[in-house]
């Protein structure tokens, strides 16, 4: 009898709101990312030698029963400089009816497959060159998002975003709301062992069309002027994206082995003002894509291959001239990586990249990287 009373008392403590509070308020997590690299990739945030990559401090909590909040700051070093970036600072609704979901503040855009995923969950040292060229590695911005998940057995999600677009602006007098995106995601299981997701994205950039090229003096052209701005290298009025991901694990048990195949294709158009249309090498459309396969063969070892390609261009005017000098560029990269997970929270990765550069030079880049997290570790998206 006495024993029963005691256990009842314990259970009422466990279900009390006080216990629930300690579960969720607030979650603090840190991601440490360090590397050594023997070369550089184009449009990259990582420079040669020892460096720190995406070092992240993140806090999140349910604000009340209606809102969830997330704050993520990123510290990056580039040579002697250390940058503090605010990557995410948003609130999100929890209890809207009909599958609606509103997010406001600064957040990673839903464009494409990989963009809204956190960098520390990536399987390779850097985002594919397609992302680095068209989306500035990962595109986050200030704005508003509305998502709708349909009540269907097949996963169908529709989303729209309105964003400031300042990181994607090609003009000086940019409009206040520069970027609008629309996304459609569908997905389901092929079987107990395999699942898929397909997405279509459209990004409208009101300020994406280049109407003016800066003056450029060839004599001071040096390769050491790396401005690691987190803006995209090329922009246009319209960016279209299609993405596909397929994941497989025996019986759906992901612990021991699994395989992920993902691919994205992006097409940029309406890139330069009509006054440049007749110019030599004036880009009409630019395309970029990647295909990546990662196989985990034990709980602690995985290996992956990725191919990525991105078209771009460079333009400038010479002193005293109004006619731009335009050059077509192309980057392609093959990455091969092997990663060892000491646990779910620590990864050491070796990656070799064969770079086919813009000037047709071939480069071999070798990176040794660690990505480790402590504190709260958020759940990962599919």
């Amino acid at each position: 009898m006495k024993k029963k009373l005691v256990s009842l008392a314990i259970s009422s403590i466990l279900v009390s709101p006080a216990f629930a509070n300690t579960l969720s308020n607030p979650q603090i997590g840190v991601v440490l990312d360090g590397y050594y690299q023997n070369g550089e990739r184009n449009n990259s945030e990582r420079s040669e030698g020892f460096g720190l990559g995406h070092t992240e401090i993140s806090m999140s909590a349910n604000i009340d029963d209606k809102f969830h909040g997330v704050l993520t700051t990123v510290l990056e070093t580039h040579g002697d400089e250390t940058e503090l970036l605010l990557e995410e600072a948003f609130i999100q609704t929890l209890t809207m009816p009909y599958g609606f979901n509103i997010r406001g503040g600064r957040f990673l855009s839903d464009f494409g497959y990989m963009n809204n995923q956190h960098m520390h969950s990536d399987s390779f040292v850097e985002r594919p060159v397609a992302y680095r060229t068209f989306l500035g590695s990962h595109y986050y911005d200030d704005g508003l998002r509305a998502n709708l998940v349909l009540p269907t057995d097949m996963y169908v999600k529709l989303g729209v975003e309105a964003l400031s677009g300042s990181k994607m602006s090609a003009v000086d007098d940019a409009t206040a709301v520069g970027v609008y995106t629309t996304t459609l995601k569908i997905g389901d299981d092929f079987s107990e062992s395999s699942s898929w997701q397909f997405g279509l994205s459209y990004l409208r950039n009101e300020n994406g069309k280049v109407n003016n090229f800066e003056e450029h003096d060839h004599s001071t052209d040096g390769h050491d002027e790396h401005d690691h701005s987190h803006a995209s290298a090329v922009t246009g009025s319209n960016l279209y994206g299609a993405d596909f991901v397929w994941k497989w694990a025996p019986n759906g048990n992901y612990k021991y082995s699994n395989f992920t195949l993902s691919a994205e294709y992006m097409l940029l158009d309406d890139i330069v003002d009509s006054k440049f249309k007749g110019e030599k090498n004036a880009p009409d459309t630019l395309a970029a894509y990647y295909v990546s396969g990662v196989y985990r063969f034990t709980p602690s070892w995985s290996a992956g291959l990725r191919y990525s390609d991105a078209e771009s261009y460079e333009g400038h005017v010479h002193h005293g001239s109004t006619q731009p000098h335009l050059t077509s560029l192309n980057d392609s990269e093959i990455d091969a990586m092997v990663a060892w997970d000491s646990s779910h929270f620590g990864t050491v990765r070796a990656q070799y990249t064969r770079v086919e550069n813009q000037d047709k030079a071939t480069d071999n880049v070798f990176t040794l990287q660690y990505v480790m997290t402590f504190g709260a570790h958020g759940a990962h998206a599919f």
């Binding site: 466990l14 599958g99 097949m154």
Partner: protein, 303 residues
């Protein structure tokens, strides 16, 4: 007296169940909760995110699960961070108010069970440890009655039109469970004091209930896969100090087999959870059968 009561309940429930009912849509993280809920809400459509062959720590927040979560009127999971790698993502992506934390319709078994192995201090160097206690609560046999009571109450408040049937099914479940508990405890008598080497504290509640003891783990630390060095250290265990090696159907059998070769101790593979269509008490029966077959002297079959 008890007999009369239950007959009355069954009669009344038969009448009530014939009323047109809104079929609840229920999402569960693990199959054991599907079995439990099916006993309380037999008309509900219940979808389990995992199968008996999957490790619930490692699940993908895949599109099909988001779609199921979106349509759920109610969800039930083990909790205590067992599903921390994927459930929060499903809750957020599904945009379904009914499955958010602190809702009547979002139920965590570990918040009802008296948790074992709660830690005041948790550090990741201890492995992927669950601070709120061992979350593998499907074998907390004595707590199942309390879970059933909470499940009945929640179902009643979510779907008041069928409240009476939930009440009746709950009473039936608990009465049956009480009988089974007596039967199981009698059958399991030979298992008391048995010492085993197991994998990942999966059966912590089972061993606690049956008076068995896990003296070593095939995992060096929770969530860390068995290493050669760690397995070597296990071969130095006094062979007299344990009776069997136990692992679960979703776990890799290599480590268990290796230790078996070194020590000649029997290996027992136990189910992690119910298989398709199995009820919760059938799972417990099966586990006892599997354990007794290896660990108890054959008993003469009673009349």
């Amino acid at each position: 007296m008890r007999f009369k009561n239950s007959t009355l309940f069954v009669t009344v429930s038969a009448v009530m169940l014939s009323a047109p009912a809104l079929a609840l849509n229920i999402f569960v993280c693990e199959p054991e909760w599907k079995a439990l809920l099916a006993a309380h809400a037999p008309k509900a459509t219940i979808y389990s995110a995992t199968t008996a062959l999957q490790d619930p720590h490692y699940v993908q927040a895949r599109p099909s699960l988001i779609a199921k979560m979106r349509q759920a009127d109610m969800a039930m999971c083990s909790g205590a961070e067992l599903e921390v790698g994927w459930l929060p993502m499903l809750q957020a992506r599904s945009s379904n108010p009914a499955v958010q934390n602190n809702k009547q319709s979002m139920l965590y078994a570990s918040e009802i069970v008296s948790m074992l192995d709660t830690h005041h201090h948790v550090d990741r160097s201890m492995g992927d440890i669950h601070a709120y206690g061992n979350p593998h609560v499907q074998f907390a046999a004595n707590d199942m009655i309390r879970i059933s009571r909470v499940v009945s109450k929640r179902l009643e408040s979510i779907d008041p039109a069928n409240a009476f049937s939930y009440l009746v099914n709950g009473v039936k479940f608990r009465e049956h469970w009480r009988q089974k508990l007596v039967e199981w405890e009698q059958r399991a008598e030979p298992l008391r004091g048995i010492q085993v080497v197991s994998y990942h504290e999966t059966y912590r509640y089972l061993f606690d209930w049956l008076g068995m003891e896990q003296i070593a783990d095939l995992e060096p630390k929770p969530g860390i896969s068995p290493t050669t060095a760690h397995l070597q250290s296990l071969t130095r265990l006094d062979p007299a100090s344990f009776d069997a090696i136990i692992y679960s159907s979703h776990q890799n059998k290599r480590a268990a087999n290796w230790l078996h070769q070194q020590t000649d101790k029997p290996v027992i593979q136990l189910p992690l959870t119910v298989s398709k269509g199995q009820t919760l008490d059938e799972l417990y029966d099966q586990i006892l059968d599997d354990l007794l077959r290896v660990l108890a002297q054959p008993q003469p079959v009673k009349g």
